[in-house]
């Protein structure tokens, strides 16, 4: 019963910490210490014991996203997503590039074929240019 509220707090602090990548390490540690001290003081001064009461304290602090965003704004840094997510992103980009390359190759092959065809059907071209002036008259 007594370990449960602390689990929620540890989880919350971990969630915040995960979003602090890019912030200088001392500022990062300072914020986590300040948040932990805030929660501990609320807990002690207001005699909070239940998980529900602790969750209420955490909700008033704000979501890990909101708190980390404020930290990045004050530090002048940007949130960089964790490596696992960015690797997914690079795979996605690689797949798009590979797709584009294949498409271009197909297009080149197609144009090469049609280009050869039109050079074979040489006499067809004068007929087209002869037709062209007719709309003006």
């Amino acid at each position: 019963m007594k370990t449960q509220p602390n689990d929620v707090v540890a989880e919350y602090l971990r969630e915040v910490d995960q979003r602090l990548a890019g912030i200088p390490v001392l500022q990062r540690r300072e914020l986590l210490n300040d948040l932990a001290a805030h929660i501990a003081a609320e807990q002690a001064e207001r005699n909070l014991a239940s998980e529900g009461e602790i969750i209420e304290v955490l909700e008033r602090l704000g979501s890990p996203e909101v708190v980390a965003a404020a930290a990045h704004e004050e530090a002048g840094t940007r949130f960089t997503p964790p490596p696992a997510r960015s690797r997914n992103k690079t795979w996605l980009i690689a797949a798009i590039i590979a797709g584009a390359v294949v498409l271009v190759l197909f297009l080149c092959a197609f144009l090469a074929f049609t280009g050869r065809d039109s050079s074979v059907e040489g006499p067809a071209q004068p007929a087209v240019t002869a037709d062209a002036p007719s709309p003006t008259t």
């Binding site: 300072e30 948040l35 001290a37 003081a41 001064e45 708190v67 404020a70 004050e74």
Partner: protein
């Protein structure tokens, strides 16, 4: 709704820090106290946790100083106080703010005379 919160965020930016400085002008206060007081003001209330990065910046820029003090009723508290630099920054803000407010009131039509 998104626009409302955007406006509140913009107005808070640049003014909230001076509200914090003013709160420790006459006596030192600890984090929970500052956060609780600010939380009572709906127009200033973002998440309470967003105050701590602000306190950190004000301390790093030399406007606030902090010290950990033992508490009779719980874990040690981190008290914040105004430095001489913070005091002159607050004085400067007060002058600027009055002029700024008067200009905005005049242009937007929110002044007493309007």
């Amino acid at each position: 709704m998104a626009d409302d919160s955007q406006l509140a965020t913009s107005l808070r930016r640049g003014t909230l820090e001076f509200c914090v400085l003013a709160m420790v002008e006459t006596e030192d206060r600890y984090g929970n106290e500052l956060v609780r007081r600010l939380g009572e003001e709906p127009s200033l209330a973002a998440g309470e946790g967003t105050i701590y990065p602000l306190l950190s910046r004000l301390r790093r820029s030399g406007w606030l100083e902090s010290k950990w003090v033992e508490s009779p009723s719980g874990p040690p508290r981190r008290y914040y106080g105004l430095t001489p630099g913070g005091r002159s920054a607050l004085d400067h803000f007060r002058t600027e703010w009055v002029q700024f407010r008067q200009t905005v009131d005049r242009l937007v039509g929110t002044g007493e005379a309007a």
